[in-house]
Symmetry: D2
Subunit: 350 residues, 4 copies
Amino acid sequence: MLVVMKATALPEEIQAVCEHIEQLGLRPHPLPGAERTAIGITGNKGEVDRGNLESLSGVADVIRVTRAYKLASREVKEEDTVVTFPGTDATIGGRNLAIVAGPCSIESRQQAFAIAEQVAASGAQFYRGGAFKPRTSPYAFQGLGLEALHIMAEIREAFGLRIVTEALDNESLELANEYADVIQIGARNMQNFSLLKRAGKLRKPVLLKRGLSATLDEFLMAAEYVMSEGNYQVILCERGVRTFADHTRNTLDLSIVPAVQSLSHLPILVDPSHGTGKRDKVLPLARAAVAVGADGIMVEVHNQPDKALSDGPQSIYPDQFATMMDELEQIGAVVHRSLPRGIRATSEAR
Amino acid sequence: MLVVMKATALPEEIQAVCEHIEQLGLRPHPLPGAERTAIGITGNKGEVDRGNLESLSGVADVIRVTRAYKLASREVKEEDTVVTFPGTDATIGGRNLAIVAGPCSIESRQQAFAIAEQVAASGAQFYRGGAFKPRTSPYAFQGLGLEALHIMAEIREAFGLRIVTEALDNESLELANEYADVIQIGARNMQNFSLLKRAGKLRKPVLLKRGLSATLDEFLMAAEYVMSEGNYQVILCERGVRTFADHTRNTLDLSIVPAVQSLSHLPILVDPSHGTGKRDKVLPLARAAVAVGADGIMVEVHNQPDKALSDGPQSIYPDQFATMMDELEQIGAVVHRSLPRGIRATSEAR
Amino acid sequence: MLVVMKATALPEEIQAVCEHIEQLGLRPHPLPGAERTAIGITGNKGEVDRGNLESLSGVADVIRVTRAYKLASREVKEEDTVVTFPGTDATIGGRNLAIVAGPCSIESRQQAFAIAEQVAASGAQFYRGGAFKPRTSPYAFQGLGLEALHIMAEIREAFGLRIVTEALDNESLELANEYADVIQIGARNMQNFSLLKRAGKLRKPVLLKRGLSATLDEFLMAAEYVMSEGNYQVILCERGVRTFADHTRNTLDLSIVPAVQSLSHLPILVDPSHGTGKRDKVLPLARAAVAVGADGIMVEVHNQPDKALSDGPQSIYPDQFATMMDELEQIGAVVHRSLPRGIRATSEAR
Amino acid sequence: MLVVMKATALPEEIQAVCEHIEQLGLRPHPLPGAERTAIGITGNKGEVDRGNLESLSGVADVIRVTRAYKLASREVKEEDTVVTFPGTDATIGGRNLAIVAGPCSIESRQQAFAIAEQVAASGAQFYRGGAFKPRTSPYAFQGLGLEALHIMAEIREAFGLRIVTEALDNESLELANEYADVIQIGARNMQNFSLLKRAGKLRKPVLLKRGLSATLDEFLMAAEYVMSEGNYQVILCERGVRTFADHTRNTLDLSIVPAVQSLSHLPILVDPSHGTGKRDKVLPLARAAVAVGADGIMVEVHNQPDKALSDGPQSIYPDQFATMMDELEQIGAVVHRSLPRGIRATSEAR
């Protein structure tokens, strides 16, 4: 159920409707739009008595939401969600292409800084780096943990990059919330509903990667888990799904980008590194991702991929990243997207 | 690396080898076998210097483990693992077929007891019931939680059934450890490595369901995560994988049963309820699972499936369960497995 | 559309209805059943005027067929189709389990006879052998062609085995029709509609293998192609589908057996050799196939699999085949199926 | 095995080497390159004695081909294959983007001409239209056959478009060879090896669509079947593969484009119509296909898709096609590809 407020509705009218919803034992989710606010309602087992709501002051309409996901649906919020980062001009969603780049894992201060400097110089606005790594083997490198977060906090200061890092559980979620700008939930945890709910209680943007065999509905329902707890800043990310095909590590499913955009207002990025698993396919698929209409790219960059502790074969070199940025800028222009020039211009001026 | 002790090795020799391993900064995993004990070693980054170990008293051999999973591998433990339940003759693994039956979710004391009575009467040794449910939608029934655990604890007392229930996170894991006999980790959490490690620190058997798109290696590596923390009682469970096929909810991959049995000593059950998603296919696939050599069956039974709060369409009726047990007993005989008669004989005598 | 004749309808009444249907520009398909004959109608673009038909002598009812496949549907023919082989007691469908065994390819007269003798001795009623091989590489062994057919014709004489061989195109179809008892259409040709139609014009039973990524509907529609041309003796065969799983060559989807049996009257076999691609998994999956309710097994047997020109790794040894037959007989008994004793008893008496 | 001729080798030396190869009982495949000719050798069971060959006049080197596919491999021919169409400036492969557009099926002269006029005006160089349709149901529209070929022959005359049509069997192959400029082998026939070999004996370019579950190796091996018979003008086409994903009809696997280009010299198109099955996803994926580096696009266009006899929901409108061409031209420029202006400029001048 969704309460659409009049364009002229006052804040106190919105507030009153929310309180009324709470008195019904339900949960209101006020979602401000460009012209007017809509208030999603969750917590109802069956039909809500709409008579009550329609008569409240400032209410324009009360409508039923037909999708299983509600807060993630375009029915509830027509305009694209744009995630902003106060104090910067970086955004995810909207006209700008968001570029998230960095190593799979933070391995050392030196490695992390070397890569950060180069991706910043080429125009990335976001730095990705793993502190807590979900590895298939319990005996593989599991990440530097808190030390990695400290290094990335320094990188934010030094280069103005916003930090994206993955959380695996309560402890790492709390730490990521403290140190990072965007909290990533990985593909293997896309249906870790307990983690999703906990991330929903935070107020940091959540980057949610598609599960290895998740359908579109399941993907949006996972986003709904986060949103149903009150955190509406969810960024989706396609990273390849598992199929019989063996020429890539995963099969990158770019068709999900327009599919998400037609059903949901949430932004969606594409990760061609995990999506292909092979360095020589990252650039072509990054170009394709922008061409298909993605809101940005998440890519693994390493200065010494042969020595990387994880994901070396799919990490591109910094100079490939620079080439990629040039190509993405050109393709972005065709689909009316641009790379913000701020950081890049500065770095080019050096 | 694996230290094989002599058949004549004394407990204190085994203890001394373990202590020596710890002094090397590594972790010993003593795995008693029918004839002799082997000690798995984890924690080594590269090669362990075997010279030291071979010269210790009671040591027969020191061998390299070639698989990525070690403790789960038959290289490390040749004999089948049989999980036992003190105070009962129920086992998982070995000559007996383990039958786990019950509703998807515990919905009420009355429902839970009605089903428990019927599955016990037909010979089930284990009762499954969801207290914490991982649902695709945040708005779907999420389980009765602690109340469900209390009900199942009563069922254990009343019918002698061992209790299997799923844990989703730290809180439910702690509760499941307190109330249940087997802790289930669901398919969606198969690579929730944080949960696996935490379950590995407990001493309750862990039933690990195969992920929706997990390869055999990933499945055994997930088991290895639990075992690497010291909990060696892991029970695997095939429950169908995701494919293009649309005549069933999932595609039940029975070939993984002999594949697991050739590589690992861990027992493996089959869940034909989730594996097909359709009531009329549960019995045929349950028969097939025993014929292929599975160590048992996990099946959803409901007395009123049309009213079930979850998974109704794939739940069988109690009388279908009784028929299934008769068929499984006959097929079990062909593959040298038997249904323990204890509970059943009693119930038949009524 | 389906015309159901009265149980008392005379042959000339059935004939008259067929002629009437032809006069409407449509095609009649008389399908005799145990109690009465039904006449399927194909060729209609939209609705057939049923008024005409209902008033004809001997007609009990005229009903609409709701499935996209008609002649293959249980709506049109309720009883199971049993394919018989005049002059033998071998059948496919019905109470007997049909066992088709033999080498992937006929490599030489000596090899073919050696295997035939052994599988006949163990109770197989059908001999499979490739004369024309659909190989992934144009440079791989493509089969002995006509020579292989001659050898198999001799085997029929010598051992009383019925011959199953694959046809790839017009030429091999004509030859298979001349020399074999069952014409196999392989998985890669399941949607070679031209070949299916041509096989439909013959009167030899057609064994149709499921395509590597065929849905249930597509599988039955392929059978419908054969039947729509007047050949109603179609035998289906599950042989594994393509998925992400890498522990077997294909993923054997046993759930399609009950799915087919609920929608169609056609018999269905299972091929655990292609379904797994690994010798050590053939026996377990053959047992599972009979347990799930399949009408029989198609299996590759080779006396020297290491030297086989194709499919060696998935071919079982003759003594494994003998063991398999013993196990299938026992499991068959549980699901009310039996192995016909004719050939076997004789061979045991030697 | 591959014989690399010297850059200075004379035609008669090439001829002499070919004859020598034939005398060895093998088949020579002279493949002219920009700088020199290579001669592929097929028909050898094992190792060819290279001593003989190296000593022949004009031979620079004799090298072993390591891939299972030989003639399709870049090892044998380093430069990209460019398929040309005498009398036009249309090409497939090379710097130009090839655009193949038209209806799924030719339904009438009027429909076919209306669409042809519009796609020609927007710059397509190739016209696709089904005359013989491989339909899942035997009762669905199967194409107009010869009549459709006549219509398309007229279209070639009227608009200068080259004609692409599918062949299903011997008869339609012969007709397509007579009437069309490019013979399409559809996804369902990708491993119809008999049809592939027969197409290999022709001298018309063959457009080979990837099978629904074909691996990269199988795809290239299917091309090899055509080439091994002497027809080296093979054009590959990605059209989506079958996966669990349900938001599109198939999952378009764009990563196969760079994968093919690294292993093979053959051109590769992308079909976003079958690849998505949904009109609103065709343009985004067409853009992505050009961005990823495809040699062109094959797309279904219909003037009245709601009335189309096949594939209506995935056919785009002519004005969407015009928009698509504008976007592809811009994206093409980024990846150094251009749309030939010939036909288009003319049509714009009208």
